[in-house]
Amino acid sequence: MGVIMPLSEAVESMVHDGDTVAMEGFTHLIPFAAGHEIIRQGRRHLTLVRLTPDLIFDQMIGMGCADKLVFSWGGNPGVGSLHRFRDAVERGWPHPLEIEEHSHAGLTARYVAGASGLPFAVLRGYAGTGLPGQTGTIATVTCPFTGEELAAVPALNPDVGIVHAQQADREGNVQMWGITGVQKETILASSRSLVTVEEVVDRLELRPGGVIIPSWVVGAVAHAPGGSRPSYAAGYYPRDNDFYQAWDPISRERDTFSGWMRDHVLQAVPS
């Protein structure tokens, strides 16, 4: 529970080929370091789950880690397309990518049901859209009191849930603050959980907006300073908006993408 170990070791022991891997962080605290380690270790046939695939899944998809993507918004925020995601969906490169598409509200509700030990969640959503016709994990349920029909989505319980946080103490208790997205739900819904952190402290001091996750529900903690760059870690470093913009030309062509990944990820020293 909350064992502190090197990131490479944590990924090796917790992430296996074919796993369903959720990696969350809503714009903030995106676990890039963990994603890069998964790429370096050459994991294959993963089902990747994220509300916003963002650059991290664009990279993992382009490097061939994923057979399937579960998501709700697949763009480069404020910039445009995720070219590797598009190349996989439109042209099957490096290999075809199965997609399971939701809305933010629906995918979020799936995490909540997963964290709550319920088989499904109910929401006002999807009605009249094209999504139920394309996504098998959208159904309806009838209110036993009013007879009203609502949308239902199944619980999401990933094999592995990975998030990045600002701090952990030496017992593996975790604190994150700022925009916390669905990170707590990701940890609680997953069979195994890995939290990378900016720093390991002797004692966690609860901060304004701070969310503490007790060690006994955390699988492993890995010290990964800067582990959410080029996204940001409130209190540590800002979002590298320039890199998000630079990613557009880098990722547009397969060769430039592969070259960049070789130079900046594959040949990088594991943290």
Binding site: S72, P77, R86, V112, G125, I179, Y237, R239
Partner: protein, 255 residues
């Protein structure tokens, strides 16, 4: 689209917001318009971002809906499950802002795919918060650049519902929000006809003629009998817009 027409679109959208309203904002044009409104006639406009930020008061235009400044300047930051369950879903939010790649005559929107879903010509980002914003907000404002590519007779995919297939459809679908109140483009403003629910051109921006708008619409566009002309952006509006656009990225506050 010229810078001028982009400004006009932002200004027209900002003017559609009233002070004291709550507004669910996506990134890009909606964020520009909402922040312009806050900087001009609606200082008490409550901006809500799906990242969980409620009452954000950014001094610059964020690149993403989760930028640090949105959290640092917010009245409250809540988890993403809460923003959808407790804030958007119950219909507490007055105005939802949406953009899209395609729009049809009933203001249904497509931001998912061009071509077929399984074999797309162009895969777009997808739904994000749009289906529930369109369903739950008291009213929806759509911002979209107008052309025959975007104003289509038939959507390639329906990502969010405007008035569906026409009168009564929202009620049949159980959508409790009022639906699209206005569509703001770089050419003019369209509003749904109260009876037919079909979009009608009611205003044109300076320098635009009705035929320009018809030519940029993929269906036989209805034009209001008393078509009016949008007032040009004021100096104050343009100055506020420049300030927002030129403001520098500021680093996240230290620990």
């Amino acid at each position: 689209m010229s810078a001028a027409s982009g400004d006009m679109m932002a200004v027209a959208a900002a003017r559609a917001l009233s002070d004291g309203q709550s507004c669910f904002v996506g990134i890009g044009a909606p964020s520009t318009a909402a922040n312009l409104a806050r900087a001009t006639h609606a200082p008490r406009l409550a901006l809500i971002y799906e990242s969980g930020c409620i009452g954000s008061k950014p001094t610059r235009l964020p690149l993403s809906i989760g930028d640090g400044e949105l959290a640092e300047t917010a009245d409250a930051v809540v988890p993403v499950p809460e923003i959808f369950a407790y804030w958007l879903q119950p219909g507490r939010i007055d105005v939802g802002f949406l953009g899209a790649a395609q729009l049809d005559r009933f203001a249904n929107l497509n931001s998912t795919v061009i071509g077929s879903y399984r074999v797309p010509t162009t895969r777009l980002p997808g739904a994000g918060g749009a289906p529930e914003i369109a369903g739950c907000c008291k009213q929806v404002l759509v911002m979209i650049r107008q052309s025959r590519r975007s104003f289509v007779s038939q959507l390639d995919f329906r990502t969010s519902v405007g008035f569906g297939d026409g009168p009564g459809d929202r009620a049949r679908l159980g959508l409790r929000g009022g639906g699209p109140a206005m569509v703001i483009t770089d050419l003019g403003v369209l509003v749904p006809d109260p009876d037919s629910c079909e979009l009608v051109l009611t205003r044109i921006h300076p320098g635009v003629e009705p035929d320009d708008v018809r030519a940029a619409t993929g269906w036989d566009l209805q034009v209001s009998a008393d078509l009016s002309r949008t007032e040009a952006p004021t100096e104050e509006e343009l100055a506020a817009l420049r300030r927002l656009q030129q403001a520098e990225e500021v680093p996240v506050a230290g620990r």
